[in-house]
């Protein structure tokens, strides 16, 4: 589904991603862990298509197509979704309208008709219930004045409404207390399917107690320095990121 080959990315002349190779197949869950500043968010933004980065080498294929040839919205239409580490506040745009506009954009691209408004609202309300979100959030401006945890739930709500095929979640667990973490993790688990792949970016292994990854990759200085199974996350938890740094130094 996603193939990242020798990806080098710079910002203002400074190289941040220094050669990433990663292959993610349908239905797989990959966790990417790494210390702060290792380039995790940069990688997620690159996949979503944010401007301001210079891709100096390498390529990314999504279902065999060059991702960098696709505009931001085209990627969304084709099934790429990024749950932001810091979701953006959009004053004045209600959550319900935002979700509907987004979903209809995607449906239109895929040759589907617009959803009936009533069906749409009741389906969204059902999903909010699962995520333990109050219905009043539907009519509030997107993320405006939401707490950190509410913003993260809202990201997962969007994901469950839009039903993407590649879900990139950037530190969706950070800032959540243990109850919220559980609710959000269940929300993500419900979306797991043989057709859908996940990239879980996280700083801590505790998210992985709830969502079991198929693969774990350690990112340091803009590069995958180690890959393995779920046990690698536990190893990291015990040894800390200093262990990675030490290994790199030696």
């Amino acid at each position: 589904m996603l193939k990242i080959e020798n990806l080098h990315v710079s910002v203002e002349g400074k190289e941040i991603l220094t050669g990433i190779d990663l292959e993610i197949n349908k239905g797989e869950v990959h966790a990417i862990m790494g210390p702060n500043g290792s380039g995790k968010s940069t990688l997620s933004y690159i996949l979503a298509g944010r401007e301001g980065y210079e891709i100096t080498q390498g390529r990314v294929l999504f279902n065999g197509k060059d991702l960098f040839e696709m505009s931001v919205e085209k990627r969304a239409w084709a099934g790429v979704f990024l749950a932001f580490q810091y979701p953006v506040e959009v004053p004045g745009v209600s959550n319900i309208y935002f979700l509907k506009a987004a979903l209809n954009g995607i449906r239109k691209f895929n040759g589907l008709s617009e959803l009936d408004a009533m069906d749409f609202i009741s389906s969204v309300k059902g999903k909010m219930k699962e995520l333990d979100m109050d219905e009043k959030f539907l009519y509030r401006a997107v993320n405006e004045g939401f707490s950190g945890g509410e913003k993260k739930r809202n990201e997962v709500l969007q994901m469950s409404v839009l039903e993407p095929t590649l879900c990139v979640l950037d530190e969706t667990d950070s800032g959540l207390d243990i109850d919220a973490l559980q609710v959000v993790a269940e929300g993500i688990n419900r979306l797991r399917s043989p057709e859908r792949s996940f990239v879980l970016i996280t700083h801590y292994q505790r998210l992985l107690d709830y969502i079991k990854p198929d693969f774990v990759h350690v990112l340091a200085h803009g590069k995958v320095v180690k890959s393995g199974g779920p046990e690698l996350a536990l190893e990291l938890e015990e040894q800390g990121y200093a262990w990675v740094e030490d290994k790199l130094a030696s």
């Binding site: 298509g49 505009s71 506009a101």
Partner: protein, 443 residues
């Protein structure tokens, strides 16, 4: 303060030629007011950009256009009219500056309430006219006001009886017909909300598509003690027209005046909203101006805290696209005696193109010492991170920009409580910034 300038010969000649058969010419007091105004105009002419208050707006295209005075109303087709008239309102309709009784409807008014046209009620309401006309505009008056006083052909005269509430809003619609091209609408509205009364007025402006004309409207408003008046303006003139519109108000003690000002039309427009505040009165001035292509929209406000304990809240938003220009000049004056004044002014501008321009100039003149005055202005662009966020969810770039722009404007539209007007304003907004799948009931 004002810089002397010779009046444009064409417009000066209109005044001298036309005084004889105007509405109310049977009244000496009115004739002498008109003569005085004509003299005032012959001294100043229209304002020049050398005057501080007009430095951002050059009205020379109006002078060059040599508009003429209309002699009668042209025809309006019913489709056009249907689109103009708001549901659930009393309607006073003026075409090319003349009242149209057959297109208007005012029904079931409470005893003692006057909702009429000057041309209809000039004898019956002479005292009312006499007490209101020229009673609120400042002297020396602006060239445009003098021009209006000297030449107004008609307008609304409204008086709300003491302690009376008018349920339905009163819409005063000014329409320029096709035949009205190249002519001037000079209308004068006189409004009195007597003590303890409550009413909503809506002035709307429209013209035949692509027709070029000048609207020069003056509205004088008196809000007596404890009265509550909501005054709305929807300026949706033809995009080739010129619009000079002034609302001059005086609030007595404990009066409430809410003025909502929505500007979409005209190639060049100037709105002037003035309020003089009595003791413990409450004044809200809200505005929205949206300019495209080469439209020029100038908004002037002046809030005069003449007495203590009054509250004023002013919030204007502008959106400028293409090569358009938006101007906001807001002046707050707090007199020496006006202690415990609470005055707020805010102007926020959104530029949608590199060639669009926003000029914003708040001016505070504070002579009292125990007052709260706050003001803020911003000029900005759409938030790139919000555009990106919307696009990652599947809105294309244009849609994302439209969503954010619409949201910026909608904050001002939400303030309109009367639904038929709010929907009309939303329609203007959605024409400019379409929202796919948007349901008006979600707003």
């Amino acid at each position: 303060m004002s810089v002397t300038q010779l009046p444009n010969a064409h417009y000066a000649s209109l005044i001298t030629a036309k005084n004889a058969d105007l509405v109310g010419c049977e009244f000496d007091w009115l004739n002498s007011l008109r003569v005085k105004a004509a003299e005032g105009f012959s001294e100043t002419g229209f304002p020049s950009p050398r005057e501080e208050e007009w430095r951002y707006t050059n009205i020379s295209p109006i002078e060059k256009s040599q508009f003429n005075l209309p002699t009668k109303a042209g025809a309006i087709d019913t489709r056009f009219l249907q689109n103009v008239l708001l549901d659930d309102c009393h309607h006073l309709v003026f075409v090319d500056g003349f009242y149209q009784p057959t297109l208007s409807s005012v029904i079931d008014l409470t005893e003692g309430v006057v909702v009429s046209a000057i041309s209809e009620g000039v004898s019956e309401h002479e005292d009312l006219l006499k007490s209101l006309l020229d009673s609120v505009v400042e002297t020396p008056a602006l060239g445009f006001i003098n021009f209006n006083t000297a030449l107004f052909t008609d307008g609304a005269v409204i008086s709300i009886e003491e302690n009376t509430q008018i349920e339905k809003p009163i819409q005063i619609a000014f329409i320029s017909s096709k035949e009205g091209a190249l002519s001037i609408i000079n209308c004068r509205n006189l409004v009195l909300a007597k003590a303890g009364s409550k009413a909503t007025l809506i002035e709307t402006y429209h013209g035949a598509e692509d027709s070029c004309y000048l609207s020069n409207i003056v509205t004088e408003v008196v809000v007596e003690p404890n009265a509550n008046l909501s005054h709305n303006r929807l300026q949706a003139e033809s995009l080739k027209a010129y619009h000079i519109g002034g609302v001059y108000s005086r609030l007595d003690n404990n009066a409430i005046f809410n003025q909502y000002n929505y500007n979409f039309g005209s190639v060049l427009s100037r709105s002037e909203v003035h309020a003089e505040l009595g003791e413990a009165s409450d004044c809200t001035l809200d505005g929205l101006y949206i300019a495209e292509d080469r439209q020029h929209m100038d908004n002037h406000t002046r809030v005069n805290h003449a007495q203590p304990h009054a509250v004023s809240n002013e919030f204007y938003k502008g959106i400028m696209n293409d090569r358009s220009k938006g101007v906001f000049q807001g002046r707050i004056i707090v007199a020496l005696d006006a202690q415990k004044t609470d005055a707020k002014m805010n102007n926020r501008n959104l530029l949608l193109s590199d060639r669009a321009e926003a000029d914003t100039k708040p001016q505070l003149e504070i002579y009292a010492d125990d007052v709260k005055c706050a003001h803020g202005v911003t000029v900005g662009q759409l938030d790139d991170s919000a555009i990106f966020y919307l696009r990652t969810r599947g809105a294309d770039e244009e849609m994302a920009k439209n969503m954010l722009t619409f949201a910026f404007a909608n904050e001002m539209v939400e303030r309109v409580k009367f639904k038929p007007l709010r929907i009309k304003i939303l329609e203007e907004l959605l024409k400019r910034f379409p929202q796919q799948g948007m349901k008006i009931e979600w707003l």
